[in-house]
Symmetry: C2
Subunit: 257 residues, 2 copies
Amino acid sequence: MPNALTRRLEEYTPLADADRAELAHLCSQSIHTVGARLDLIREGDAPRSIYVILDGWAGHYRTLEDGRRQIVDFAIPGDLCDVNLFILDRVDTSICSITRLKVAEVGREEFRRVITNFPNITTALWWVELVSKSIHREWIVSAGQRSARQRIAHLFCEIFLRLESVGLTDGFACDFPLTQTDIAETTGLTAVHVNRTLQELRRDGLIVFERRRLTIPDLLALQGAGLFNPNYLHIRRLNRHTDAGREVREGGIKEGR
Amino acid sequence: MPNALTRRLEEYTPLADADRAELAHLCSQSIHTVGARLDLIREGDAPRSIYVILDGWAGHYRTLEDGRRQIVDFAIPGDLCDVNLFILDRVDTSICSITRLKVAEVGREEFRRVITNFPNITTALWWVELVSKSIHREWIVSAGQRSARQRIAHLFCEIFLRLESVGLTDGFACDFPLTQTDIAETTGLTAVHVNRTLQELRRDGLIVFERRRLTIPDLLALQGAGLFNPNYLHIRRLNRHTDAGREVREGGIKEGR
DNA sequence: CGTTCAGTTGACCATGATCAAGAGTGGTGG
DNA sequence: CCACCACTCTTGATCATGGTCAACTGAACG
């Protein structure tokens, strides 16, 4: 069974045996365990290493001067933090563990060696980076345009599909370790309102969510509730129950080029 | 006087004469003019070329099924759209011109040649890409946490500094071709509320904004009003009037790693 | 078995949305 | 050159989504 990073990269680019071996090697060199709810990296730090998430969830966040906090991304198994390494001299976002984490640390030189010797891996990493940017854009859309109900439904759809793409779902269910406060800090809502909205989604039969476990009985229905269209995730092999076939193009766009 | 792209890249990485010559060459090969308010690229298209903005503003946006639209980024002179080119098979965001544009079209092969032969340029392009991602994160923070007044103040600060970094400001003033509706679609507010908030900012003397021209008499004051901290822009040579020296680190972050 | 954190509920409030109408302003064609 | 049209900006009245504050319940963990 391949590790999460390999699985993730193969979502995008075919890998050779040598690539897979290299990735397995990378992810077995320097493995750390981090307890839940600890900062891995803080805004303003100089970047040191890249971490590959092998198990558990982490969150990228920024804080405002008045203390409010916004989660801007999640890192689940197969994700990397922080590719900034070679470029920016300061990390611009903090990262904290949400659950207990298992991470592989990849040093600067190690990473550079892989980049120069394994073009398939490099391409796949580019892909991951661009998909991550696309996800950021969708979060801007969520925070800017979607209602509370839509935002939460959308978040659940996104995370479910991301987990599925690395093999971490189980039929209609998945582990989902976010607290209601986490969801609030992700969606730009308050925890109180998240609570009420979750009850509404439960009442409507769109989700079952208890004891850190999420079940989505009808993903298409939840996608409808969240105005969710999976194209922005750029997942190649979308499963039966998703909406990928749906036509993206709207009717009303005006003018051509 | 260097073109906008060169100026932009030199913000990040020292370039050699050969690099500069190559950039000048790139930006003079295939120049197009595009009228205002036209789509350059639409969500779902297959990527064709990269465009370098030489003059004018463009906007990246996504639309929801119910027709609402969210601008997720601006492209000003020196910016590129879309580096997706080699990786993703579908463009995930539409781009439209805000003003009349002058763009340089760079083809796939041309771009690949530059990437392989000019490592300084490649590094600088990486940098640009990561800064763009950092800006996306800040927009998530804005939409999620900032009030209407803070969002608009923040947007003005960001754009002013981005324009300044490519030499497009004139003392305390700059061209600013966004309509109030554009600002609304950027900040996730309604045009009516943007109007009222702008009046408030004007009344407080924080901005002068008329006839597509923005003046910021006291940038530090506007930064305060927007909870703006320029670090996320990763601009090297920040000017006298910005707030870069301010300590980023908050007091209250708990626990170490 | 007590402490802490997550979740829940209720009452009230405020920010910003919605709807509607009117006033500039600029560009275009007759 | 003027008239018209379209778009942007402005203002007012009303409404709703989601925020705030506060108290209480329940589960987990040492």
